[in-house]
């Protein structure tokens, strides 16, 4: 693995390996000395062309726990606001010998452009590009789901897949890179994905995605999902009227107290509620965010472990040799189904 650009082209074996490494990384967060020397002397650049708090802080904490040097490059106040192109910015970072570039960009495909170019030799990690993908968010969601799934199943997390799990993703799928990354990754790991949202906020071509689509939230909840992932309503990307009013959206698509109580009535004791953050409280989610079902803070915590694993796997190892050591190759469980509409790579 040289870059981490999307979850769509991530194989089940690579995804499981990353999650297993993240499992070991999470133990470091519980120690007194929360630092490992693995990336000593390497430089990680956080290149953020869009606002972000938690993703940038999470990557920064991950890189620092692995002893890498971190350079935060926020576009506000940089030469980019003077009109510098992505190419010139990249070549500047190359001249400063960055080993990894964590990039967030409003344009879909910007990280892939950077990775495919010869502007820079560094490993590229996509931290969210336009409405395309946000792979580390999907990986931390999968990590959180897997821990939950393993706990109910009474098995250790490491090596477990999401086979048999039913995950419902609700809300603004159209603008959500988190939803896209999750659809690909969770199905690769064996979960069944359900999507629910108003038709105006579902993308064209969703019929070819490996998931079932619902146009009514309560109908989707009736499918008894093991996890409900609420998406943030991305008001900043909305230049058209997608629904009549926020009150109506909240009533029809928000995870409110009534729906929280519904889970109890249905006897879904093990169903968790997720949100990638930042939350619009009172809009897509309410008191459910503070209920015992909420995994929202666990997701933030797991984000650091997953990003440590991604940085470690991209930056350690002989760059000319991609194959895992023969005694460490992952053997996939044979019962892992190949999701419909997907080709194995």
């Amino acid at each position: 693995m040289k870059h981490l650009l999307s979850t769509r082209d991530l194989s089940a074996a690579s995804a499981l390996r990353l999650l297993d490494v993240a499992e070991e990384m999470s133990a470091v967060g519980e120690r007194e000395i929360k630092k490992l020397p693995a990336l000593r002397g390497r430089t990680v650049v956080n290149l953020f062309f869009e606002d972000s708090t938690r993703t940038r802080i999470s990557f920064e904490a991950a890189a620092k726990r692995l002893s890498a040097d971190v350079i935060n490059f926020a576009v506000k106040g940089s030469s980019v606001s003077k009109g510098e192109s992505l190419k010139d910015t990249a070549q500047t970072l190359e001249a400063m010998s960055a080993d990894a570039v964590v990039i967030r960009h409003p344009a879909s495909g910007a990280p892939a452009r950077l990775a495919a170019s010869d502007w820079i030799d560094a490993a590229v990690i996509n931290a969210g590009d336009g409405t395309h993908e946000h792979p580390t968010q999907a990986l931390l969601d999968a990590f959180t789901l897997r821990r939950h799934w393993a706990r109910i199943g009474g098995t250790p997390s490491a090596g477990t897949t999401l086979a048999g799990m039913k995950v419902l993703i609700v809300g603004d799928v159209l603008h959500s890179r988190v939803a896209r990354s999750n659809v690909w990754l969770l199905t690769t790991l064996g979960a069944e994905v359900l999507l629910a949202g108003p038709p105006t906020l579902l993308p064209v071509g969703i019929g070819s995605w490996p998931c079932t689509v619902f146009y009514d939230l309560d109908e989707a909840i009736a499918q008894r999902p093991d996890a409900v992932m609420m998406l943030r309503l991305q008001a900043e990307r909305m230049n058209a009227a997608f629904f009549p009013s926020t009150r109506e959206y909240s009533r029809r698509w928000g995870f409110d107290d009534g729906r929280l109580a519904l889970l109890d009535i249905m006897g879904l004791d093990d169903t968790v509620i997720m949100h990638p953050g930042p939350m619009n409280r009172g809009l897509e989610i309410s008191a459910a965010a503070d209920s015992p079902r909420s995994t929202i803070l666990a997701q933030v915590r797991n984000g650091v472990s997953v990003r440590m694993a991604a940085l470690y796997l991209l930056l350690s190892g002989d760059p000319h040799d991609d194959e895992p050591r023969d005694d460490e190759t992952h053997s996939l469980p044979h019962d892992l189904p190949i999701p419909e509409g997907r080709t194995t790579r």
Partner: protein, 195 residues
């Protein structure tokens, strides 16, 4: 006992059979108790992968001699992957779990356990990993096989067998706990040479 493997040019030589290995471990267990003047504050930390089952076996042998010892409470596993000095020269290694006994390692007598001592670099990494986890009173090293060719000033306190080897040869330790499923005859130490 030299016999060419039928399918390749690799010769294999068994240097420790199951009974030899068991006797060597029994002796090491007694040496550890002798050096420590008993089992007080004793912790055995195995280095993945084959050091951990060896540490468990040593702990059981110590418990057989000393009734006060619960083998599960004095054994642990210490992963050294993230502390290695060759992370960039070899294909990426996946870290294994580090599990310490509930009592921790502060002010304890920690015996590191590994299968083969070769360059000494793994033990160097283990000493660094240990320093991030606590401050043992004493750190000792027990290995099943010492094959020489040290690259660092490190030596073992307890050795199962000293094995003069050429650096062209490979020393493989097979343990029932890890290799038993592969159909390999469990519990043996083999020297392989590419002829």
């Amino acid at each position: 006992m030299t016999m060419p493997a039928p399918e390749s040019g690799i010769t294999k030589r068994v240097v420790l059979a199951a009974a030899d290995m068991d006797r060597a471990l029994t002796r090491i267990a007694h040496e550890i108790l002798e050096a420590n003047k008993g089992s007080a504050d004793l912790i055995l930390l195995g280095i993945p992968r084959r050091g951990f089952p060896l540490a468990q076996r040593l702990a059981r042998k110590i418990a057989a001699v000393d009734d006060a010892v619960d083998p599960d409470l004095i054994t642990g596993q210490l992963d050294v992957t993230m502390y290695r000095d060759d992370l960039r020269r070899n294909p990426t290694r996946s870290p294994q779990a580090t599990q310490l006994p509930p009592s921790g390692i502060d002010d304890k007598v920690v015996v590191l356990v590994d299968d083969v001592l070769y360059s000494g670099r793994t033990i160097r990494a283990a000493l660094d990993a240990l320093a991030d986890l606590g401050r043992p009173r004493i750190v000792r090293l027990a290995v099943l096989v010492d094959r020489g060719h040290r690259e660092l000033p490190i030596r073992a306190d307890h050795v199962g067998k000293n094995l003069p080897t050429s650096s062209r040869e490979r020393v493989r330790v097979h343990l029932g706990e890890i290799d038993g499923l592969d159909g390999v005859a469990a519990d043996e130490v083999v020297i392989e040479d590419r002829a």
